[in-house]
């Protein structure tokens, strides 16, 4: 018999994985919504964010959470570089060129990571590693709690930015009608760049949190990109809320699959759910219209 508490424990793992996915997918979705670029290099920013925090924590021996702002800065700057040197130059051209550009960026970043940190699997050293809080009869790791709280804070700040600030409104305007936004004086190049910066920042947070609760590896970026893409299609292209909800659902589904069926089922279950939703609701969970 599998006890009820272990079921809940797996649910918590699912939510935690979902948090990382939500940080990855909402940025991926934002870039797609505003610029229509499918940024297949997005996962690399998460990997880099994780390594920045790992590296600085090991180097200084300080609490790795202190370095989240630096992980954010580095991932955000690299994301801006992706845009300025890459996607900006070919925007509006056919999607295949974007894909190849992104694959190029992926290899460059991966190789840089291998050069700097080797191919070994790493875990960001957290001082809270063995600390647990007992909530309602099951153990919640302090690091897991930090991941959930950190994700919630970042997502709330992100929603506030998108819905309430002038820059967020301009980004939404560009996503709803780029040409009309240009006509009323929105500097769309600046908005595109801001979009990449914000997405990169969220990826940086995601990486720094992921490095503590999971592990890092220079080749992990592509898998995260694929998950982010899957989640965005699952949740509905262009819907940020869809990306967040989709992330949590797929995170939970994957963890249950791993627990009951084994690790090799993790992606199979995610894609089975994707296919299911595409059959039942082609526009995705929260996608509008057609």
């Amino acid at each position: 018999m599998i006890g009820g508490s272990i079921i809940i424990q797996v649910l918590v793992w699912g939510i935690i994985l979902g948090c990382i996915y939500a940080l990855a997918a909402s940025g991926f979705s934002l870039i797609f919504g505003v610029t229509k670029v499918i940024n297949l290099a997005h996962g690399e920013l998460i990997m880099i964010g994780g390594y920045v925090s790992f590296w600085l924590a090991v180097l200084t021996g300080l609490n790795p959470y202190l370095f989240i702002p630096l992980a954010v800065a580095v991932s955000s700057v690299i994301s801006i570089v992706f845009y300025s040197l890459g996607f900006h130059k070919i925007m509006g051209a056919e999607k295949l060129r974007e894909a190849f550009l992104a694959i190029g960026f992926t290899y460059v970043i991966e190789n840089m990571a291998v050069l700097m940190w080797k191919e070994d699997t790493r875990v960001v050293p957290s001082p809270y590693r063995q600390q647990f809080i007992v909530v309602g009869g099951f153990n919640l790791g302090v690091d897991q709690l930090i991941t959930i709280a950190g994700t919630a804070i970042v997502l709330l700040a992100f929603f506030f930015f998108i819905m309430k600030t002038k820059w967020g409104k301009m980004a939404r305007a560009v996503s709803q009608n780029r040409e009309a936004a240009m006509m009323i004086g929105v500097n769309v190049v600046r908005i595109d760049m801001l979009t990449f910066a914000v997405s990169g920042a969220m990826a940086g947070v995601g990486g720094a949190l992921l490095g503590v609760i999971l592990y890092l590896n220079p080749y992990m970026g592509l898998g995260l990109t694929i998950m982010a893409f899957t989640i965005v299609v699952f949740g509905g292209m262009g819907s940020i809320l869809g990306a967040v909800v989709g992330a949590i659902i797929l995170g939970i589904a994957q963890q249950y699959a791993v627990f009951f069926l084994g690790g090799e089922w993790s992606y199979a279950v995610a894609f089975a759910l994707l296919i299911l939703i595409l059959v039942l609701r082609p526009q995705g969970l929260f996608g509008g219209g057609g």
């Binding site: 305007a173 009309a180 240009m182 006509m183 009323i184 004086g185 500097n187 190049v189």
Partner: protein, 234 residues
């Protein structure tokens, strides 16, 4: 105020405008007439920087603007009410209006501009917290014009505001354009509907197949045989 000199504009290999020249003086109400596919939208988009002419130049108060990005052109004082309104459907009326005033100069005067637009279109004040997509066609056109006015333009470009509007809302739009013009805003209106065009126009240009084929004061144009045949149907 606005001088378009001999511009040639292409979509890929396809030429849409052929040596088009046009002038608009400060304070005028100029109408550009032309049938479907004549190139009216292309001309307005080129003026507001969404398209680049392959050759020729566009000047605004003597300064070349044909190489500037669209937001710079808005900052210089040209605002464009696009064909088919093109509102931001998932945002409220107020958000749509505010988005029109995020250029550095306009932002400082956002409150005044908002008041001006609300006084012009009281319905927009009532509907300010409603999503733009839920407005009626006439209200949407008012919002599109209001949004363009928020940047406090010197020259307002309008692309077929009559599309999808019945005669009564369109009369209202024409009245508002008269009023805006009296307040000092120059108007360049694109229309297919001769009836509306001649109501507003002081001067008219006629565009056919990407070329200006006639121009003149309203009265000259009304007498022009070509125009009579093609548009007025006498």
């Amino acid at each position: 105020m606005l001088e378009v000199n001999q511009i040639n504009v292409f979509y890929g290999d396809l030429q849409a405008l052929w040596g088009v020249s046009l002038r608009v003086e400060e304070g005028e109400k100029v109408v550009l007439l032309g049938s479907n596919g004549a190139g009216k939208t292309t001309l307005l988009k080129t003026i507001s920087g969404l398209l680049r002419p392959k050759s020729g130049e566009i000047r605004f108060f003597g300064e070349r603007i044909d190489r500037l990005p669209p937001y710079k052109i808005v900052e210089k004082g040209i605002s464009h009410v696009p064909e088919g309104r093109r509102l931001f459907p998932d945002m409220t009326v107020l958000e749509n209006l505010m988005l029109g005033a995020y250029t550095p100069e306009a932002e400082k005067r956002m409150g005044d501009m908002l008041e001006r637009v609300y006084n012009m279109f009281p319905i927009l004040r009532e509907r300010r917290n409603q999503l733009a997509e839920t407005l009626s066609g006439g209200e949407q056109q008012m919002l599109a014009i209001g949004r363009a006015l928020m940047s406090n333009p010197k020259l307002l470009l309008l692309d077929e505001p009559s599309t999808g509007l019945g005669p009564i809302p369109m009369e209202k739009v024409l009245n508002v354009l008269e009023q805006i013009n009296k307040e000092g805003v120059t108007i360049l209106l694109v229309e297919q509907n001769v009836h509306y065009a001649l109501k507003l126009a002081e001067r008219v240009y006629l565009l056919e197949n990407g070329r200006i084929v006639a121009s003149g004061s309203r009265d000259e144009i009304v007498k022009d045989e070509k125009i009579k045949k093609a548009y007025i149907g006498i």
